[in-house]
Each structure stands twice: as structure tokens, then as C-alpha cells.
């Protein structure tokens, strides 16, 4: 297991390198002089010349990449044009909101997605299945922002149960109770992703239920519930875990929209605002961090996979 983990870690390196090259090239793909772009509209020609020298932009592109990579590895992601602050600290400001939002969303996804998925699969073909799996598909068909707007309209404007926008830090007044600001956003974000998990759990369970070993389990005279949970679901979990990386990517995409709808001071909204402000260093920084996060999550998924499926780990 340890050797497997180590080797799997090593395998990430080429992926990380290719990703970093793509992220690095991003600035160079923007039409115009990268230095002028980095400094923004207010830059004087002297500033530009100085930064060009400082960043080594007069050097060949490979040297530039290595310089940039060196800086990134030391935690220097550049300076925001808009905030005039290091990119890393700008991103760190949004981290609390985004992480809490993600955690809460994950809870909804697991709490709703898995039981409903199991229910749908075990009642395959019945009206329960038609409603749950059809409903899941409907929820996956709703634009995130539309759902968010109507949740605001109903639960904040109409019923006044939850605040409609913003998120004060949990270290501010109100403490942990500030979590209530995240209820609607996390539900909005969870809806399409939970729907995805419901469909996935259902599909993989139906798939596993056709395998020979399920017949063996039935032939033992086990209760249908034991067959469903202990045998079918346990095997379906392998496929569900494998799709988790995919869910993460979907989550990030929809977080961008959700944070904008609910005006949450998170990383997602930061991206959108930075794009509108043409704050390229921040965009570049966020993308880099998300990609690295994605690769780490996929690594964890692979390790979890190896634990779930003895055929992988015990080679």
C-alpha cells in the first residue's frame, strides 16, 4: 500500500508539469504585451521596462517558465493588479467561504444522493424509482443560478428564513451561526451534484445487480436488503468513488455561479470579478490552485479506490 501510494504520488508529477505549463502560457496567450497586461492600464513605460527586466521577459520562454515555476514553488503567485496585494493572500481571503461552502455541499450530496440512489435502484422500475430518478434528472437540468434566484425569492424574500446574500466570517459576530448564510447557497450547489450522484449510484447498482456473484448471494437465502446493501451497493461504491473527481470539477464550476448569485466572498466570485477586472495574475493563481487541488483529489480518489477494491491494492 505504501509503495503504491508513493508510486501514485510520483505519477502526479508529469501531470502537474503539463498543467503548470498550460497555466503559465495563459498569460502569454492574451493578445498584447504580457507586462502591460500584468501591470494594468495605469502603468508607465518605465514600469513596464522595469518589470520586463525583473520578470526576465527578455529571456527565452523556457527560462521564463522556470523562473515562474521557481516563484510559484516558493508561494509567490505574483501581485494582483486590482488589489495591489500578493495573489496568494487575495485567494486566501476567499478560502474560508469556499471551503465551508464546499463542506456543507458535500454533506447534502452524501445525505441526499446516496440513500435516494439506493432507494431508486432497489425499487427499480417502480413509481418510487420513476419519481426519484426522474426527479434527479430534472434537478440536473436546472441552471444553477436560476435555482439560486428562486430559492432566494422563496426562502429569503418570501419566508425570510435565511439571509439572501453575503457571508460574514465565522470568526466575526454570530460565530458558527453565520453558517446560516450558507444554507441556501449550499443547497443550490448540492442540487445538481446530488442529482448526479443519485443517477450514478442507481446506474452502478443496477449494473452490479446483473453480476454473477449477486446471484450467489441470493442463492444463500439472504434478505433482499442484505443483498442490496452488503453485496450490490458495496461493489457499486467502487464506481461511485471513481466518479468523485468528476463531481469535484462540476462542483467548482457551479460554485463560480453560486457564489456570484449569493454574493459570497469566495474564490468562485473572485474568479468572475477578476475576469471582469482583467486581473490576470489572480485568474492565473486561482486556476493553478484549482488544478493542483483537482490533481490532489484525484490522487485521494485513487487511494480510496485501492482500499475499496482489493483487486487494485493487493497486486
Amino acid at each position: 500500500m505504501l509503495v503504491y501510494t508513493f508510486k501514485r504520488l510520483l505519477a502526479c508529477i508529469p501531470t502537474l508539469l503539463i498543467a503548470s505549463i498550460l497555466v503559465f502560457l495563459f498569460i502569454h496567450l492574451i493578445p498584447g504585451d504580457p507586462v502591460a497586461i500584468l501591470l494594468g492600464d495605469a502603468a508607465t513605460p518605465e514600469d513596464i521596462a522595469a518589470l520586463t527586466y525583473e520578470m526576465g521577459l527578455d529571456q527565452p520562454i523556457w527560462t521564463q517558465y522556470l523562473l515562474w515555476l521557481g516563484n510559484v514553488l516558493q508561494g509567490d503567485l505574483g501581485t494582483s493588479i486590482f488589489f495591489h496585494e500578493p495573489v496568494l493572500s487575495v485567494i486566501a481571503d476567499g478560502a474560508e467561504t469556499s471551503i465551508l461552502l464546499a463542506l456543507m455541499t458535500m454533506i447534502w450530496i452524501v445525505v441526499f444522493g446516496i440513500p435516494i440512489g439506493i432507494l431508486s435502484a432497489t425499487r427499480h422500475g417502480s413509481w418510487v424509482d420513476q419519481i426519484t430518478s426522474g426527479g434527479a434528472m430534472l434537478f440536473a437540468s436546472i441552471p444553477t443560478f436560476w435555482l439560486g434566484l428562486y430559492l432566494i425569492l422563496i426562502f429569503s424574500v418570501g419566508l425570510g428564513w435565511f439571509p439572501s446574500s453575503g457571508f460574514p466570517s465565522i470568526s466575526d459576530d454570530g460565530g458558527l451561526l453565520n453558517i446560516r448564510f450558507l444554507v441556501l447557497p449550499s443547497l443550490t450547489l448540492a442540487a445538481p451534484n446530488a442529482a448526479l450522484i443519485i443517477r450514478l449510484v442507481r446506474a452502478s447498482m443496477l449494473d452490479v445487480s446483473r453480476e454473477d456473484h449477486v446471484r450467489t448471494a441470493k442463492a444463500k437465502g439472504l434478505h433482499p436488503m442484505a443483498v442490496s446493501l452488503r453485496h450490490i451497493f458495496r461493489n457499486a461504491l467502487i464506481a461511485v468513488a471513481a466518479a468523485f473527481g468528476f463531481t469535484f470539477a462540476a462542483l467548482v464550476s457551479e460554485a463560480v455561479v453560486t457564489e456570484t448569485v449569493f454574493s459570497l466572498p469566495g474564490i468562485g466570485r473572485l474568479v468572475v470579478q477578476s475576469i471582469l477586472r482583467r486581473d490576470y495574475p489572480v485568474i492565473q493563481g486561482v486556476i493553478l490552485i484549482i488544478v493542483v487541488l483537482y490533481i490532489i483529489i484525484n490522487l485521494l480518489v485513487d487511494l480510496a479506490y485501492a482500499r475499496l477494491d482489493p483487486r487494485v491494492s493487493l497486486k
Partner: protein, 283 residues
Amino acid sequence: MIIMQRVLWIFKGRRLALIGLFWLCLVAVVALIAPLLAPFDPFEINPIMRLSEPGIPYLFGTDHFGRDSFSRSVYGARMAIIIGLGSVSVALIVGGVVGMLSAYFNRLGHFLMRVVDVLMAFPALLLALVLMTLLERSVTNTIIVIGIVYATTTARILFGMTLKLKEEVFIDAAKCAGAGHGALLFRHILPNLISPILVQASFIFAFAQLQAAALDFLGLGLPPEIPSWGNMLSEERIYVTRAPWLLIFPGALIILSVFSMNLVGDVLRDKVDPRFKLDIKGI
């Protein structure tokens, strides 16, 4: 007639999906004859009549410029079909070529799929947003960007399916019969991939609608004056309390169309070769 029978056979026992298919056909027809159906010019501004309620003559009411929401919705159907078909084509052509060739030619494939894997590490909407910052807001660019985003998934899927087909005995048999690369790819592999590709296309079509709407909403999709359902939602969202109908109609149109497409895709997936069922990324 034969086509009708075949459709009815495929959709047997799936009434909801059949309704979905009907809805999609309706959207397509509306898109085709939009100028005949729209009672007003979708671009015509009429400040006096702004934010009027649904009724006669403004079936869906008017927006904050006083433009007829129904006419804009009708033209929006046209946009939905154009964005859908356009991005599906880009995704299938780019992704299809990359995926199939990568699977067929091992060495090239190894490198290309590595790059595709890395691109898949960029969440779809984020990748689209970043690409859109490099490009101007326009219909073509939106299509290209969404198409490229889904080209990565398509490439992955086709890579997997082609690899499976390559292991098939009939491929070995064709090689023994003397078939060359061209014959293997186009006579033996591609025809077996057509139906799973079509199923995948239907899901991409649905995803593309949501993606385009999200881009519109963030102000990074189609130019704001273009009548698309996403733009209508985006433009009128601040009036959601004063004129909720302005968000109900285009929202419902998007949901119905995406839902219908997903339903149809789901039915088609059930008819696809079971080998490829798990490869298809859909809902």
C-alpha cells in the same frame, strides 16, 4: 413511416421521454420559423410598455426595455439550437479525432491523452470562462469555447471505446483478411462507434445549454443584445421581485429543453451496445 415506427419502438414504455422528444422537435420547428411566429421585433425597444405583465398582446410580458419577451423567447429557441448543434459538432470533431487516433496509434495517443487528462483537470465552466477572457463575446466564440470544453470529455470517452473495439476479435480477423489502417478505422471501428457517439452528443447538447446559460449569466457568453434564454435571465434578474414572470418563462424553456434532451439521451443510452454504456458521460 419506417422512421416513425422505429422511434416508437425505441421509446416504447418511456412516455415522458417521448413527450421530451416531441418538445425538442417543437423547439426545432420554432427555431426554423422564428420570424413567422414572433409577433414583435425581438430587438425593438419600447420604454412605455416596459415590464408589462403577461397577457395580450405581450404573451410573456415585456422586459425592462419594453421588448416583447415572447418574441425574444422564440428567437431564443433559434439560439439554443445553434449553440447546441454548434458546440456538439466542435466537441465531436475535435474530441472524436483526438480520441480515436490516440487509441489507434499507441505512441501518439499516450502523449495526447496525457494532455487531455490535464485539460480535464480544469473544471468545465472555469475553462470556458478563461477561454472567453481571451476571446471576444460572440456567438461563434461561445460555440467554440463550449465545444472545446466538451471536446476533452469526448476525446476521453472515444479513446476508451476505441481501445475496447481494438481488442475485438473482428478487428483481428479484419487484419488477417489484409485490411489496412484506413479500412480498420473507417470500415470496422467508426461504424460501431456511431450510436454511442450520438448518445453522447445528446448529453453534450443538454450540458451545452446549461453551460451557455451560465456564461450568459456571468456576462461572458453571448453579446447582451442577442436574444437567448440565458441572456434574458441574466438581464432581468434584478427585476426578479418586481416581474418574476420575466425569469419564469425563459427559465422554464431552458429546463424543459435540457430535461427533454437528457430524457431522450437516457432512452437512447439503454439501446446502445452494453459494452459502451458505462463509457458514456451523461446524467
